[in-house]
């Protein structure tokens, strides 16, 4: 398989020898290949309760597990004769009704870890429960098939936190972390890549200085969107993400985050408020993508470290659990319910769901069916063979 270094060398040689002179300059600003399709990950920080989000309302066991905080049957937004959405996700119903939204259920991994920090690391690095990887799964993806050099970056983490799935890429990778485009453009003024690197550490630093500086130059602060974004923090993150998309020559993936979903007590109000923000934010992504003429090329995928305990706790909340349901939305999505919801009655000894699909099968679908990775490339990135989920056909 082609690694990044070879890839860059090959591309570089091609461009230098023949391609560059024959292409008009604007060709560089048009994303090419699989990465013209944009991936936007939405992290539901603190672990969203999937059972009250994608609700098996027709199952009698649901009411038994959730006597206090269960969503009443007549409030559930019906998706099928078995499942429905939390009412706070009303803004997503038009997207569901258009067949552009999939619910992928039963996602988890063997020997689940119930620590927030460790389990999100497992999801971010695409590792096994007992495996410690230094690179994010998308960093590995970009190392094996590099996004176009004309892009502002391979991946951008919005919100100013860690790089999550983009962290730890090889020398050629370009991952940015941006709290807001304004702050980034201001901070990046301190970046200065000039000078000679006398060792590899210095080389690494100058590379980052260069990335920050060129990303700052490639984000046009004058480009604005007509779409109105929600004023809450998640809406503003979405706004920053879509500004990067609109004002730059391209980016392969972005991550935004919303939380905290860690609802150990008093879950009803907290989760309803957060899901409302989630729905509004995703709708704004769609509106902005439509405005940019990119909805067919945009995919929104939610994820989090785990789901929550099947049975509610004594404080009208839920404790850490395992398998969960996530959503995939986009103009190219073939909507519907994907996968098998875990049984509500056959639980683990700790009262947790037994996952029916490995979370990496979702990643495999994104790599293969969204970006066009070969089976072998996907297998290398994910450290194993995972069947893909039929998201697009």
């Amino acid at each position: 398989m082609m690694n990044r270094r070879n890839f860059l060398t090959t591309v570089g040689a091609g461009v230098g020898v023949m391609a560059l002179p024959s292409f008009p300059t604007f060709a560089q600003s048009t994303p090419s290949g699989g990465y013209k399709r944009l991936l936007i990950l939405v992290e539901l920080k603190g672990a969203n309760d999937g059972l009250n989000t994608f609700i098996p309302y027709a199952d009698d066991a649901y009411a038994t597990l959730r006597p206090t905080i269960g969503i009443k049957r007549d409030q559930v937004l019906q998706l099928s004769d078995k499942f429905g959405l939390h009412p706070a996700l009303e803004t997503l119903m038009p997207i569901w009704n258009k067949g552009e939204m999939a619910a992928v259920t039963g996602l988890g991994y063997p020997q689940p870890n119930l620590s927030h920090f460790r389990s999100i690391e497992i999801w971010d690095t695409g590792s096994n429960s007992n495996q410690y990887l230094n690179e994010g799964w998308l960093a590995r993806a970009f190392d094996s098939v590099a996004p176009p050099k004309s892009f502002v970056a391979d991946g951008v983490a919005i919100g100013g936190g860690d790089l999550g799935p983009f962290a730890g890429g090889a020398l050629g990778s370009r991952a940015l972390s941006i709290a807001s485009t304004d702050a980034f453009l201001r901070q990046a003024k301190l970046a200065d890549p000039h000078g000679r690197a006398s060792n590899s550490a210095l080389q690494h630093i100058l590379k980052i200085e260069g990335e920050a500086q060129s990303a700052a130059l490639n984000i046009d602060p004058k480009v604005t969107l007509k779409t109105e974004f929600p004023t809450h923090p998640f809406g503003q993150q979405v706004k920053t993400a879509m500004q990067v998309v609109a004002a730059s020559p391209g980016v392969a993936a972005l991550r935004v985050g919303l939380g905290s979903f860690d609802t150990h007590q008093g879950q009803l109000g907290t989760q309803a408020g957060l899901l409302k923000q989630l729905g509004e934010g995703i709708k704004a992504i769609k509106d902005a993508s439509v405005e940019l003429g990119r909805w067919q090329d945009t995919l929104v995928v939610t994820y989090c470290e785990f789901g929550r305990r099947a049975k509610e706790n004594q404080s009208a909340g839920t404790d850490h659990g395992t398998a969960n349901t996530q959503f995939v939305l986009g103009g190219a999505v073939k909507g519907g319910i994907k996968g098998m919801h875990p049984s509500l009655t056959q639980l683990t000894g700790e009262g947790n769901f037994i996952h029916s699909a490995d979370y990496r099968s979702l990643y495999a679908s994104l790599l293969r069916d969204w970006w066009g990775f070969s089976g072998a490339q996907s297998e290398k990135v994910l450290g194993g063979k995972y069947g893909s989920i039929p998201l697009f056909a």
């Binding site: 991952a175 301190l190 980052i208």
Partner: protein, 560 residues
């Protein structure tokens, strides 16, 4: 206790020591200048000179001050290393928070959810921050930075996170343990770390029982603490886990307790040996493996010498180390006196950790720090949240410290550190007194004073300590800050404002430390501040805050 008061006092005492050293160094300089040009010493039998002294101190301490560098410059390499090792300590000098003395269960089974959340907030947010602040204060004020560097090295090696162990007291006790052995005996440290309550919780040792083994500690002690990957089998992990059964802790005292009833005393076959091994036997077996020394020495090499260990040299050092019963000081001496440590190609090749950068900058430029708490928060923002390494592998370190976010955050921090126009100037004449500068009053109101990031400490508690509970914690911190604000008793170079975490740097005074040196050698400023020639900044540094800022923002400043 009143932490800022105590901290001030300690810093003041340290400050006086610096003045004494400064005076001494001037004398020394006059003596040394004639016989030992700073850049010409390669022979180990002669005084090191300025550059070698700086290299040694910056790899083993937090960025050294000119006076310290000059002090060491007159020593031979061996004299200098022996002095550093002789000055190491086994205990912290800064007093710990009062709660650290007693153990209290973070949770009791009879607690309501509300009480649990309150306890969680207290342990993780409040005590967690006080614990981090305490360590930062120790690093800023210790007379033996090498001790703290090594304590941090072992914290990273035996990585344990308060996120899982919860109890701030247990994390404090582990830190005390790591410092006690930081330059002592590795074998003894390993034995005690295995029984350390925070570790027993962190790696589920306390859940490891006969018939229902938990392999977490058994696996990590082999993979990450001793042998390294590839030197043991899955079967070894299973058998070792059986040997460690019964290592548990007493819920009331938070102390180690061996529970015979859940110990598996059957025969184990592990690492090619067979016997009724218990946990102590298992540690003995691990210490007998040559791989253990090689693994740890390799890691120490990456900490002190270069990013890519010389395998032959590592094997030799590890062999000597095992023969010396894992005494750490002889190993450090060997490594610091090795040719590789001094090799020109190994200078300025290591990326500073956030602790190196933050603590080093504050110490080297003698920043007056009123409250260290905000710096503990900044360390987290830069990717090194003390007592909370990302996982049992610790911080990856090296080049991984830096990405666009963390590098820009570092540069933003440095830029603000050296932004003179926002600082409170001390009253004229008070700065150079050298004895009781604490009496001086600032010339402007606290509101004009420098804050660390333009945010309050409370605002800096920005993220994920306990998610939704954060706002309440922020309000509490804000309230506490207001209470302790005492603008009437302002020290010379800062403003007593715990909330805003102010600090002050006196550039004039700093430059005044080396006027004689400057006449002899115009390079002395960048050679003090940087590990190698500046990449972007001018070598001819104007003796101003702007000049220092240009060096601090140079890529070379990120290296040691």
């Amino acid at each position: 206790m009143n932490a800022p008061e105590t901290f001030k006092t300690v810093m003041n005492r340290v400050g006086s020591l610096y003045w004494w050293l400064l005076a001494l160094s001037v004398v020394v300089l006059l003596l040394v200048a004639g016989i030992a040009p700073a850049n010409a010493q390669n022979s180990a039998a002669l005084p090191m000179g300025f550059d070698e002294a700086r290299h040694l101190l910056n790899r083993t301490s937090f960025a050294a001050q000119v006076s310290e560098i000059n002090e060491f410059a007159k020593l031979t390499r061996a004299e200098a290393v022996d002095r550093l090792l002789a000055e190491t300590r086994r205990q912290a000098s800064y007093p710990p928070p009062a709660w650290a003395q007693t153990y209290e269960r973070p949770y009791r089974p009879d607690m309501t959810q509300e009480e649990r959340m309150k306890a969680n907030r207290r342990e993780l947010v409040e005590r967690g921050l006080e614990l981090r602040t305490w360590w930062v204060a120790e690093m800023l004020s210790t007379p033996s930075p090498f001790t703290e560097r090594m304590t941090l090295f072992w914290h990273n090696h035996f990585a344990t996170s308060q996120q899982k162990s919860r109890s701030a007291t247990l994390m404090y006790r582990q830190n005390v343990l790591l410092r006690k052995y930081a330059t002592g005996n590795f074998a003894a440290m390993l034995r005690e770390v295995g029984k350390d309550p925070a570790m027993l919780i962190y790696l589920d040792g306390a859940q490891n029982r006969k018939g229902a083994p938990n392999e977490n500690f058994a696996r990590e002690v082999m993979e990450l603490f001793t042998l390294g990957e590839g030197h043991y089998t899955e079967q070894d992990v299973k058998e070792a886990a059986r040997a460690f059964t019964g290592w548990s802790l007493d819920g009331d005292t938070g102390e180690f307790r061996f529970r015979r009833a859940i110990h598996d005393d059957g025969v184990k076959k592990v690492l090619g040996q067979e016997g009724r091994f218990n946990g102590d036997d298992m540690i003995t077996l691990l210490l007998q493996q040559p791989a253990t020394g090689e693994f740890v020495v390799g890691k120490l090499w990456r900490e002190l010498v270069s990013p890519e260990p010389d395998n032959g040299a590592v094997k030799t050092l590890a062999g000597h180390w095992r023969a010396a019963n894992y005494e750490i000081k002889p190993l450090l001496r060997d490594m610091l006196l090795s040719d590789a440590f001094w090799a020109p190609e190994n200078r300025a090749v290591l990326v500073k950790s956030p602790v190196d950068l933050v603590i080093g900058s504050l110490r080297q430029f003698r920043f007056s720090v009123e409250d260290p708490a905000p710096f503990a928060v900044i360390l987290r923002q830069l990717g090194q949240d003390l007592f909370n390494p990302p996982n049992v592998k610790g911080w990856p370190g090296g080049n991984a410290w830096l990405n666009t976010t963390t590098l820009l955050a570092r540069k933003g921090f440095l830029n603000r550190l050296f932004r003179a126009d926002e600082m409170v100037k001390p009253a004229a004449g008070a700065a150079m007194a050298g004895t009781s500068a604490m009496d001086a009053k600032p010339t402007s109101e606290p509101k004009d004073a420098m804050t660390i990031t333009g945010q309050t400490t409370a605002q800096l508690m920005d993220k994920d300590l306990v998610g939704a509970n954060r706002q309440r914690a922020q309000m509490r911190l804000a309230a506490r800050g207001t209470e302790t604000m005492t603008p009437a008793a302002l020290p010379a170079f800062g403003v007593a404002n715990q909330l805003r975490g102010q600090y002050f740097f006196n550039a004039e005074q700093w430059f005044a430390q080396q006027p004689k040196q400057r006449e002899m050698n115009d390079d002395i400023i960048w050679r003090t501040v940087l590990a190698g020639p500046p990449v972007q900044a001018s070598k001819d540094v104007p003796p101003t805050l702007v000049g220092l800022r240009s060096l601090a923002l140079d890529p070379m400043y990120q290296l040691k």
